[in-house]
Symmetry: C2
Subunit: 415 residues, 2 copies
Amino acid sequence: MKRISCEVVAVGTELLLGQIVDTNSSWIGEQLALSGIDSFFQTKVGDNPERIKSVLRQALNRSDYVIVCGGLGPTQDDLTRDMIAEVMGVELRLRDDLVEKIASMFSGRNRRMPENNLRQAMVPEGAEPLAVMPGTAPGLKAPIGGKTIYAVPGVPWEMKQMVTSCIIPDIRTEAGLTSIIRSKTLRTWGDSESGLAEKLSNDIERLDQEGTATIAFLASGIEGLKIRITAKGDSEEKVNAILEAEAKKVSRTIGDEIIFSHNDQSMESTIIQLCRSQGLSLGVAESMTGGLIASRITSHSGSSDVFKGGIIPYANEVKHAVLHVADGPAVSKVTVEQMAKSVCEVLNCDVSVAISGNAGPTAMEDEVGRVWMATSVDGKVESFTIKWPFDRDRVRQFTTISVLNALRLRLSNRQ
Amino acid sequence: MKRISCEVVAVGTELLLGQIVDTNSSWIGEQLALSGIDSFFQTKVGDNPERIKSVLRQALNRSDYVIVCGGLGPTQDDLTRDMIAEVMGVELRLRDDLVEKIASMFSGRNRRMPENNLRQAMVPEGAEPLAVMPGTAPGLKAPIGGKTIYAVPGVPWEMKQMVTSCIIPDIRTEAGLTSIIRSKTLRTWGDSESGLAEKLSNDIERLDQEGTATIAFLASGIEGLKIRITAKGDSEEKVNAILEAEAKKVSRTIGDEIIFSHNDQSMESTIIQLCRSQGLSLGVAESMTGGLIASRITSHSGSSDVFKGGIIPYANEVKHAVLHVADGPAVSKVTVEQMAKSVCEVLNCDVSVAISGNAGPTAMEDEVGRVWMATSVDGKVESFTIKWPFDRDRVRQFTTISVLNALRLRLSNRQ
């Protein structure tokens, strides 16, 4: 099979100045990889005519396809349309159909189309606007000497729709890539990347030889380690069967305990699901994490089905007054267990997690990084302690996922 | 004065695959801009010998300096050292001083240096290791035909130290850039970028002509709009005087009310400072934001000086039981005002913020995006409502900064 390559060019002086991080190119790179299209270079260039042209010419030299991202807006700084026309050696033409489309978008919002936006309806002769047009900036497909430049706006949601529903299918069709590529992501907590790689080394080797699927590890730090299984085949059905079979083998090898999602879900979503399926209501008592756990849970729509609320007893007097914690050291087994127990009573909920610790940077009566965590399920409280070697932010983040993981294990075993 | 240009090359297949977003290049780009060094291109390339060489050669062709980031680790995949040697047309030599330095880092942690790490002590003939070496990967300075390649590891904290304390001073010295460049960032909430640009247009024009300083707007979304004033001069004293004078003019023009920090601080930090200086303790009652406000406050060390804690009455029964809210609509003026009042009593604190709203995606008894916010200061409660046209995440984020801004204004006027 012919290998097809596509490179990405991001246009915008603000990208070079570091005022915006170029996440668009990373996202496009990932989509290309998942679609079986090679991508060897990504370039950022400022809003400068000569430099944009030189980058486009070079990209056409060394890749089959080029996706240019950004510079399609209505202002004089938006040069991508003009530079593509110059590289093609053609003129820009005003397209009446695009004028109409853009004008109707403005009128739909009861606004008049500014004169400037007419620039967005200009298309290089021989190029075509992309069929999908979520905003006022049309995408472009421009054929040049047997190669193709696609232009998409820098606005992420507009760009993503165009890449997913126009550009990638288009490249795959032209290149005769008919195979279907799908992936499945297992999310884990509790083992290192090298630990997992060692355990899965036989599977990885076998897949290398069979060529039906690949296993990749994606470290997502405080979100745990992702194991991504990717399979290729000629029907949706076959590919899914391979993914399911390989995922089962991986689970068997590394043990189901450390897998918190078979479907790329966050730890919080897993907790919400477990509570919902068992008809349990949830509460939190967070001292050191100070609302981080509750905030993560409530970031998911549907959390209100199970989440009753939380108490953040940051000052010790609040631990005493609201959660009936007795005098004594705040970062301790007895305090955190009382917090987990009381919060179930105060909020009238079935299960809870509780945290007390010192995230630093200053050691108080406790060493920095020392955290006590507790879970309460069916009135039974369990607790454990960890001394993290991290900075404040990571102590709070690692504590959050650790205590939720402890609750997950208890709820899973309860079923 | 001669313009000097430096481009950035990031090496790593994982960057092209989108497994890691390349924040290093953005950071380096920002440092170069703040140091008066032009940067016109940034390139990402995978771990492939020929492609790395082609990118380096091209970068040397079109820029005076090149910073290569990544590929200096101990494994066979780490090709940067070798490729620089090939581009220079020289051999790699093992440097005994580096072997010793790396070995001592391992022995300091009671670990034996793996054989692999010897690769990191290899330096192309004619190149020199950088003086600063925070980890086991030495940086490199490689002169090639009147131009220079600097190589730094991809680990951000190692890279940053090398760029800040070696590379940028080095380039500035060689290029004869003796002027000092400093900037000052004002953070604002409550006006749009175009609104601020219009108000400041006279100042921006004047500075364009005087050439002593520039004003740039950095949109940071839910964190508000930053106004960055950058000045250049031949002494620290003069530059700071310009910055202070221009910042004063900007405050006068746009009004002090919308500036929440003169020193690039977050809204939460400003609140903590205001409470601390006035000897006030703080509490929160967050329904819709579900811990986000408390989490943001407690992410700052020193928040325990003023932050007593919070109640998250996510379920309505918790609003009744813990915060004594009467029956009636949950998203309402009367509910949110009672929440702000009660939380001061329950947590025994002086000031509070309270939130009740519907972040979506489902309309309940209230429309999606409708939020009531209240602040309590010295026992006096004030409230307001906004209907946000955003998704769940942004409704929560915009609500957080809006209610904290309302508290900021009340505390500032109280002083």
